[in-house]
């Protein structure tokens, strides 16, 4: 059971939840935790949330602010679980399972990227979450970072100020034009991909956006990794509930361990981050 340190509304539907975590393990950008917020049986299942920030010194010196070790979750209120979360107060306890899943491939492992290394982070709304830790990993390196951040309106760009503080080069789009460019994050991506130099695209957001991003990256012959968010029960690969259809033989980056080919991978265990080429987008 972890202790709630703060739970702060940052935008009408978005909150930042800080939790202490003794003996905090190392966490990769893109990994997530499963939270249980109530002892009641409604809501019944844990809810998955990406790790937005590391608090305190963190394992591997990842941490940034505050002194107590812990993590910060950035979440959007969408249903009954997140509504309950919004009522959490400092001192309440939360049950955290994690960190879980595989995060984004470090750029060093993305084979085809050789020169003028550039990372494009494409985030849609709450899809911003994995990019804070990712940006933190690279912003002092030689790799150039670009954040493309799209939302419905200016109230759907949670955490934008955190990236500004970092000094990350950021382009913003909104569906309603209330901030940044009027349009979709894919409009921004198109421009970005047309620039010279090898790059890799990391994307997180609604499925329709990821599908479009994957297509654009494939057309541009650019490596692309996407973080999916299927509904989950166990979060650890046991229930086979979070299945995502993958393309036929010989596609995946991660090896297929069993002899029998299964057309499904588990978002919680094999993902949530996948090589975009692995996913059978036509069935999503």
């Amino acid at each position: 059971m972890e202790k709630v340190l703060y739970n702060e509304k940052i935008l009408p539907l978005y909150y930042k939840l800080g939790m202490s975590w003794e003996g905090l393990p190392a966490i990769e950008p893109g990994q997530f935790v499963m939270l249980r917020i109530t002892e009641q049986v409604d809501p019944l299942l844990r809810r998955p949330f990406g790790v937005y920030k590391i608090l305190g010194l963190g394992a591997g010196g990842q941490g940034s602010e505050g002194s107590e070790q812990g993590i910060e979750i950035l979440y959007k209120v969408v249903g009954k679980g997140t509504k309950l979360m919004a009522n959490l107060k400092p001192g309440y306890t939360v049950d955290v399972l994690g960190p879980l899943g595989n995060g984004f491939q470090p750029i060093s492992k993305v084979g085809s990227v050789r020169q003028n290394q550039r990372i494009i982070m494409a985030a849609g709304g709450i899809g911003i979450v994995p990019f804070y830790l990712l940006a933190k990993n690279y912003h002092l390196s030689s790799i150039s970072l670009k954040l493309l951040f799209g939302g419905r309106g200016k109230d759907d760009l949670p955490g934008l100020e955190d990236f500004k503080k970092f000094g990350i080069d950021t382009a913003v789009s909104t569906d309603d034009g209330s901030m940044g460019k009027n349009g979709l994050v894919t409009d921004l991506l198109k421009k970005e991909l047309s620039k010279k130099g090898d790059c890799v695209v990391y994307a997180c957001g609604p499925k329709a956006m990821l599908k479009a991003v994957a297509k654009m990256a494939e057309d541009a012959d650019t490596p692309c990794y996407v973080s999916l968010d299927n509904a989950m029960a166990c979060g650890i690969g046991a229930c086979l509930g979070c299945a995502v259809k993958i393309r036929g033989q010989g596609s995946g980056v991660r090896s297929q361990k069993s002899k029998a080919f299964s057309p499904y991978k588990m978002v919680c265990k094999d993902g949530p981050v996948f090589d975009a080429k692995e996913i059978a987008w036509e069935e999503i």
Binding site: L44, L45, M232, A233, C234, C239, L240, A260, S262
Partner: protein, 327 residues
């Protein structure tokens, strides 16, 4: 053996095995059909993977048994997503029995499980009597398996897709056939989606089942009012979790009064109290399913809670509890 056993209720579980119980410590061991369990708590099929997935989160040695995800003869790919959806105090799943097939299981997964001091029960199914028998035969030859659990909530491809578990004649035939295909203790897992579960229980008993486990999931559905589509890719799924506990308890109670076989109670168990409810109505053993997702340590907490309950109520062993509901 000199232990003073009250003949309070009909005795379903065979003689408890622990020879020299520590004074004051209740004996949680139970023997069903020759399977000697250190305690009456098993992880339910499909909710615990192949044990491996949960090994980092709890000490598998503390469990009575692990029942693995249902296996078929050949690998199965399962149903299209979405496969799970939460409902009020429950969840629907339409995994569709995705599995790697019995042979890969024996090669890749069984060796890991054998390392633990817990029993391995293999859940399996088929879409024909032949497939059921073929799987049972393969498992019969494997080492390290304590018993088989037959999931009969599967449609019979050869006879109009009628579910084996909803028709007493089909139940009898498939269980009889499997009975001849294996020497391992045979647990038959009953479906709750029937008018009278005691009829099916009797059919399974008559066909040679050693133990009955119940219940499997209730058939259910959920709709997304925003998209006007079913929330599951398969439209229909199986309901599990605390929502179904009252239905499960009633069925165990009915079956307890009807057949002589030891029973495994399943359905919505979250706590030791829930497990004890099942034991009071006649279950010698319980399986915990959905709760594993919510609290990976739940099964062990349930073992401890049962022990506490036994101590508090001066119950010496499982046998004394089983079916001892006061009415």
């Amino acid at each position: 053996m000199g232990r003073d056993i009250k003949k309070k209720s009909e005795v379903r579980s065979q003689e408890s095995g622990e020879k020299t119980p520590r004074t004051g410590k209740p004996d949680l061991s139970v023997n069903i059909a020759g399977i000697q369990l250190k305690n009456p708590v098993m992880a339910a099929s499909g909710t615990f993977g192949y044990g491996e997935e949960y090994a980092p989160y709890l000490d598998l040695n503390r469990l009575g048994a692990v029942v693995v995800k249902g296996l078929s003869l050949k690998p199965r790919q399962g149903n299209p997503p979405p496969r799970i959806v939460e409902t009020a105090a429950g969840m629907l799943n339409s995994i569709g029995l995705q599995n790697m097939g019995v042979e890969i299981f024996i090669e890749k997964k069984l060796p890991f499980l054998k390392k633990f001091d817990t029993k391995v029960i293999v859940n399996f199914f088929g879409d024909s009597i032949d497939e059921y028998c073929a799987v049972a035969k393969v498992l019969d030859g494997a080492d390290g398996i304590a018993g088989l659990e037959m999931n009969i909530s599967c449609p019979n491809k050869q006879e109009g897709w009628l579910e084996f578990g909803t028709n007493p004649d089909l139940t009898f035939r498939v269980v009889s056939a499997v009975r001849k295909s294996t020497k391992l203790p045979l647990i038959v897992k009953l479906s709750p989606n029937v008018t009278d579960i005691t009829v099916l229980a009797k059919a399974a008993q008559d066909a040679g089942a050693d133990v009955l486990s119940l219940i499997n999931t209730l058939s259910g559905m959920a709709v997304d009012v925003n998209t006007q589509r079913p929330k599951l890719g398969n439209i229909i799924g199986g309901l599990s979790g605390p929502a179904i506990k009252p239905v499960a308890l009633k069925m165990v109670w009915q079956v307890f009064k009807t057949v002589k076989l030891p029973l495994i109670g399943i359905g919505g168990i979250m706590t030791a109290e829930d497990a004890i409810e099942f034991m009071l109505v006649g279950a010698s053993v319980v399986q915990v399913g959905t709760v594993n997702f919510i609290d990976p340590q739940a099964s062990i907490k349930i073992v401890d809670g049962i022990e506490d309950y036994f101590k508090k109520n001066k119950i010496k062993n499982v046998k004394e509890m089983v079916g001892s509901l006061r009415i």
